[in-house]
Assembly symmetry: C2
Homo-oligomer: 381 residues x 2
């Protein structure tokens, strides 16, 4: 480690200092391979340009104002999505001027905060309930702001959203008539289809979503309601929505980091992709008391396991078996590992992994180049 710096705060408040070598980073730490990240951002810019659609990058993946600004400056993003009012607040405070809360916001204080935020930035929110639309309108009137709304369609995930066709039309009319709200279109995100590994099944599900969305857009048009935004799609399926002629704004997030789960989903169809793993949890071996077993210092408080355990990168034969709170059990059949050896873990799921850490450590050529705070980490409200 570098002499002269305040080593004792490294590890307590931050995992590294700018200029540190990789081997001096305190583990477990969240690492961005900056070159791979930049290539992913550029690659997605190419896709959306070639499909002639907008990209509204989903910031739930990284919760970072720094990364969001980069996506807008260099990656062709027109704005960002997030899921919570407090995330939107953090992003606007971090310089983002165009934010879709791709989710319903229903609590009275949350609505009040959203309406206040709409004085400082373009704010769009999803709705699936008429009383909620009225509450948003009242708060925007009180704040003297304008909120754009997208009516959310349940296009197969059976989570939020109303049924396509008539129910969407009904809410769109309410929104269009509400003071201080602008009806801006549809939210048609099929969250579960993203994650179907079989390409044919995934295609069939997305095709259904595209069809119901197309029909609903046409129905609204027949009633004089234009959809400036037809939004949805994620890294698992964006090429389908993007080339559908129906969607005009894609909400991909994971492409910047490409987690192990999406790697499995996208690895088998070859249609588009080429995204690289750019996010890692760097972990150290901390115990090695049996020949074929090692223990690392990254458990599920450091790497999310909701989509399966992390994959050990670049070390064939070495497997992350199971996560405890603060430990990972590593299978080491060749007895290759020793205490303080480093492993690079590709998270099963990037989004909740980012949310466990305070800092992204950006590295290039084996050195720490950036420290980006996870701006909206823990912003749940």
């Amino acid at each position: 480690m570098t002499d002269g710096r305040n080593d004792l705060e490294i590890g307590y408040n931050v995992p590294a200092a700018i200029g540190d070598r990789v081997e001096d980073i305190q583990t477990p730490a969240l690492i961005v391979d900056l070159a791979a990240f930049e290539r992913n951002v550029e690659r997605m810019r190419g896709y959306v340009e070639s499909m002639n659609v907008r990209l509204r990058a989903h910031a739930k993946t990284h919760k970072s104002a720094d990364i969001a600004r980069y996506q807008m400056a260099k990656g062709g993003a027109c704005g960002v999505c997030c899921q919570k009012v407090s995330e939107a607040e953090a992003l606007v405070r971090g310089g983002i001027s165009d934010v879709l809360v791709s989710n319903e916001v229903t609590g009275p204080l949350k609505i009040k905060r959203l309406a206040r935020l709409a004085k400082d930035a373009r704010i769009i929110v999803c709705v699936d309930d008429a009383a909620n639309i009225a509450a948003l309108s009242a708060a925007a009137q009180d704040a003297g702001s304008t909120i754009e709304v997208l009516v959310e369609i349940d296009c197969g995930a059976r989570r939020c959203g109303v049924q396509p066709g008539g129910p969407v039309l009904g809410l769109a009319r309410v929104a269009a008539a509400a003071p201080n709200l602008v009806f801006s279109g549809l939210q048609a995100y099929h969250g579960t289809a993203q994650h179907i590994v079989d390409p044919a099944e995934r295609s069939a599900e997305i095709a259904l979503a595209v069809d119901m969305t197309r029909d609903t857009v046409q129905l609204l048009k027949q009633h004089g309601l234009d959809c400036a935004i037809v939004g949805g799609a994620g890294t698992g399926s964006f090429d389908m929505e993007g080339s559908s002629g129906v969607y005009n704004e894609l909400q991909c997030g994971s492409y910047v980091f490409m987690d192990a789960h999406y790697g499995r989903v996208r690895g088998d169809n070859g249609v588009v992709g080429g995204f690289e793993h750019a996010l890692f949890v760097l972990t150290s071996i901390m115990s090695k008391t049996e020949a074929t077993r090692a223990v690392c210092d990254a458990g599920h408080k450091a790497v999310a396991v909701d989509s399966g355990p992390p994959v050990v990168f670049g070390r064939p034969g070495i497997t992350y078996l199971v996560a405890n709170d603060e430990h990972g059990k590593i299978d080491d059949p060749g007895n290759l590992l020793a205490i303080n050896d480093l492993l690079w873990l590709v998270p099963g799921h990037c989004d909740p992994t980012s949310n466990l850490h305070d800092w992204f450590v950006g590295i290039r050529n084996g050195k720490v180049e950036t420290l980006w705070p996870v701006t909206a980490r823990g912003k749940l409200y």
Copy 2:
């Protein structure tokens, strides 16, 4: 909500203000039922007194200096455990004077920090490797401090630790001879046995751990090495270790909150227990577009699901089905729920759930009485 306060920072930086009613807390929020928490602390104090053993409460459950101080002041705890150097730093800075890092610490800077911390508090750490003992000794000499060490036994969990008997004796001798280290005894925690639901199987596993620990203590004694601390046990089995005559320091953590998983483990044997659920994630319904389905605003970024989904408290028939990142799908067969209704979720696993939040909201009689920061949240290094 209370008039006059700065509402707009509530929800961004904190989920509530002191004096708020429960229905004004921003969701999803981490709630401590203070009366239940206090009863749990008192109940455990009674158990350890009756068994004539010490309690070294495990702070990994709550990562809170406020709760740790309460456990020491009112709950009979002689000190606390934690798992990481940065947790220990946070706890010492929060007024805790006696900390066991119940884990191996192997990185050079981590060892340096630990040795520095030992100038400000009693610091104990686990070891399972001779080179690590030498590194700890060197760092303590450099810092001019003394670190106590426990040799960790692998008593069945096959994680960290060496085999009982000879291997423990070997390391104990190394530690006893190392400058600025004190050999203080054994760490004999059987993490996996804690979670065996069948009481007979759990008892059998713990009995094996007790036997190997007893034999090892005797072996060390024959070689002139006394164990001031024979530590281990958790909420799933503490009565067995505590009454064994072998263990003298119990490391229970979850008893303060009692999660749904431990509720299942302890619910069936009736030997001891009586701990109440004291930790909840308060969540709001945010979408209700089908009769028998609702969506709440607590997904797995708000409630850990590594030990199963949360249990809806006090609402028979209503079930938390599955967690997405920011949503929970709720089965509502009776069509009882409406937007903004509150649900109290008992986390499947308290420890990683605490780690997702910045604040514990302590409530009593339906009002917010305390806001405790999750002092060591995200302290991974």
